[in-house]
């Protein structure tokens, strides 16, 4: 089955991203496809490479980056939600006159149309949020 995943909450404060990650991993392990993971609302905070949790805790951003690398999962961060919350890639940093960018490996910034497309293309769209 082809799954789309929507994550609406940031890491650590909520379990949404952890649950979504475990779901995505389990689905892939069972031979299903994850068409796209879309990060919206505070969910965009999952994409900051500046997150530095203590060593004995999981690094949620790094887990997503690894999953993207190993299984070629498309991790998309909503541009409008991301810019509001200070999540920028190199292009957006330049465009907005910022001297730093923090989008982690494996993530890309794009528009909300990518979420709708994930809904259309996937057999199921799973929403992880509050």
């Amino acid at each position: 089955m082809k799954f789309g995943i929507l994550i609406n909450e940031g890491p650590y404060q909520h379990q949404a991203s952890d649950s979504a990650y475990l779901f995505a991993k389990a689905a892939i392990d069972k031979g299903h496809e994850v068409f796209r993971v879309f990060f919206y609302h505070d969910g965009v905070q999952n994409a900051t490479c500046l997150s530095s949790p203590p060593q004995d805790d999981r690094n949620i951003t790094a887990l997503w980056s690894e999953l993207a690398k190993e299984h070629n999962v498309d991790l998309v961060v909503c541009v409008a939600a991301a810019l509001r919350r200070g999540i920028l890639d190199e292009n957006e940093a330049k465009r907005n006159g910022k001297d730093a960018h923090n989008l982690a490996d494996g993530f890309r910034i794009s528009g909300l149309g990518q979420l709708i497309e994930a809904g259309i293309q996937s057999d199921r769209l799973m929403v992880f949020g509050d």
Partner: protein, 137 residues
């Protein structure tokens, strides 16, 4: 799924318009999603019914009052706004407290018709069961 697929998308709005950004960002998805020519409806349940109440004013809280945007939904061919009766009643509200959100029916000589459909919890459950995609905000 082919390019021409039409799915039933429902946006389920459960939170008040201010206090968190869910309602505003939900509306942003609805407006962007309208370009995809899908079968779109909205549901307002729980505190979500406050999103479409009349006479909202945000001048004292430093936030944009985005409630007029709901009036534009008809122009985006979004004409089905389900409001749960029980959620209204539980909050001492009635349909008279909601904005007069309308659309122009192209199949009926562009007659103006109400977009808001007040339904019971049981009726809404049936509508939700018939959807392909549920986006909960």
């Amino acid at each position: 799924m082919s390019e021409g697929t039409i799915k039933k998308f429902m946006y389920v709005n459960r939170k008040p318009p201010y206090g968190t950004v869910y309602a505003l960002e939900s509306l942003e998805v609805v407006l962007i999603g309208a370009a995809f020519d899908q079968d779109v409806s909205l549901a307002f349940i729980g505190d979500g019914v406050y999103q479409i109440t009349k006479g909202q004013s945000t001048s004292d809280i430093g936030m944009k009052n985005f409630s007029p945007t709901y009036n534009a939904l008809g122009d985006y061919d979004i004409t089905k706004l389900y409001v749960e009766q029980e959620s209204l009643t539980e909050r001492g509200l009635s349909v008279d407290d909601l904005m007069d959100i309308v659309y122009e029916d192209e199949d009926d000589d562009w007659a103006e018709k109400p977009s808001i459909r007040v339904v019971s919890r049981a009726e809404l459950a049936d509508v939700i069961a018939g959807q392909d995609i549920l986006l909960n905000f």
